[in-house]
């Protein structure tokens, strides 16, 4: 018999994570491509402008800077949409978590090294401050929780599955 999904704590966290992280990722990718301008600048201008931010972290070689700057905005939008859709959630949640943890590590490193650089998170001038480190840390924590809970929940029978199916799954 069909029943409504029981909203336990893990499912709530998964939902919040999906909504918040998907929203941020889609917005971040969109902001990098449009730079918040009307009319938006050509994509080439936006991506080469974003290269300045990626390069300023002094982590990647020039080819890596170009690769990241030219693919990240599109990847952010795609991952955000896939996370919202929820099909293959564990895959997209894992990828997003890896990205966010990477961002967090880069921002933390820049902060600890007192680098006077542009965060580049939303393609707008934004210095790397302690607040920015905490923001990224909070997002990384949310992403990790969401992903871990998604894996835990996936082991359980789906609450909408039939009782017989659920019993088989539990057996």
């Amino acid at each position: 018999m069909m029943q409504s999904s029981p909203m336990n704590f893990r499912r709530v966290v998964i939902w919040i994570g999906r909504l918040v992280l998907a929203g941020i990722f889609i917005y971040a990718g969109y902001a990098k491509l449009t730079m918040g301008m009307h009319p938006r600048p050509p994509i080439g201008v936006a991506l080469t402008f974003f290269q300045l931010s990626v390069d300023s972290y002094q982590i990647l070689p020039p080819w890596g800077v170009q690769f990241v700057a030219k693919t990240l905005p599109f990847a952010e939008i795609a991952l955000g949409v896939l996370l919202l859709i929820g099909f293959g959630l564990r895959i997209w949640a894992t990828l997003i978590t890896l990205l966010i943890v990477g961002f967090f590590a880069a921002v933390l490193r820049a902060y600890l090294l007192h680098m006077q650089i542009n965060c580049g998170c939303f393609a707008t001038p934004e210095p790397v401050t302690l607040q920015k480190v905490f923001e990224d840390g909070a997002l990384a924590a949310l992403a990790i929780l969401m992903t871990v809970f998604a894996f835990i929940e996936a082991r359980k029978p789906h609450p909408w599955s039939s009782e017989s199916g659920a019993e088989k799954a539990s057996a």
Partner: protein
């Protein structure tokens, strides 16, 4: 897990995320507002506004006599001190650099990036480069350095003095001897004029004007570079490597 805990936890997470999200500086509003953002009580500056015919500040050794401060508008950029601007005023791209002589990142930007930009883009008429002074209060001698550099600019010696100040940044930062650093690259007669200008304080309003303009652009760190091209504004805070600046400028110049 009881329902109350779930609801409280959810609300806490949502509120926390909202605080994080909206607690950041209002970058987007500042971006969209651009130059139209009201200035934070800008000081009224009495200055001349007579346009000058000279297309470059650097190329000419100006008359040695201290001239009245002259500010012009170039494209969307207002209050440009021609003595601290370089290149053709009709260049398709304008670069406005807010800089502090005591800031290490500004030194790197000047020595590693902007000098190459001057050679390859400014001198070829592709970019008009404006140097704005933005001395940060945290730097004890940067205001003095800005005064000396501005005075040197007004006697046509902006380049050697800016170069000397940046190249010897650590030295005068430690000793506070800005005067000696500038004197090392100027003749005695030039140095006297510079000292007279600094002492008179007639150029201070220009520095204050730059700071006000920086605040309008929400400059909160140095260096901050604002690019203008095709009616659009691209503000960027932080260091820029020449390799990627070149790619960005080429993209801006390639716009139809």
């Amino acid at each position: 897990m009881n329902r109350r805990a779930i609801v409280c936890g959810s609300v806490a997470v949502v509120v926390g995320m909202a605080l994080i999200w909206f607690g950041t500086p209002q970058i987007l509003a500042a971006q969209s507002a651009g130059a139209a953002t009201p200035a934070p009580a800008p000081a009224k500056v009495t200055i001349g506004a007579k346009p000058v015919k000279s297309s470059t500040a650097a190329s000419s050794n100006r008359a040695a006599a201290p001239s009245a401060p002259q500010l012009i508008s170039v494209g969307p950029v207002t209050d440009v001190d021609v003595h601290k601007a370089f290149g053709s005023k009709t260049a398709p791209v304008i670069m406005e650099v807010f800089s502090d002589f005591q800031c290490p990142a500004c030194k790197t930007l000047y020595l590693a990036t902007n000098r190459q930009t001057m050679d390859n883009y400014v001198s070829t008429g592709k970019v008009y480069l404006i140097h704005r002074d933005f001395p940060l209060p945290m730097h004890a001698h940067s205001k003095v350095a800005a005064s000396y550099a501005r005075a040197a600019a007004h006697i046509g010696k902006v380049e050697p003095v800016e170069q000397a100040l940046f190249e010897n940044q650590e030295k005068w930062e430690a000793t506070g001897d800005v005067d000696g650093t500038v004197a090392a690259v100027l003749s005695a007669a030039e140095m006297k004029k510079v000292r007279d200008l600094v002492k008179a304080g007639t150029l201070e309003p220009l520095i204050e004007k730059d700071v006000v303009l920086g605040k309008i652009h929400n400059v909160n760190q140095t260096p901050t570079t604002v690019f203008y091209a095709k009616g659009q504004t691209y503000p960027y805070a932080g260091q820029i490597s020449y390799e990627f600046l070149k790619q960005f400028l080429d993209q801006l110049l390639a716009q139809k």
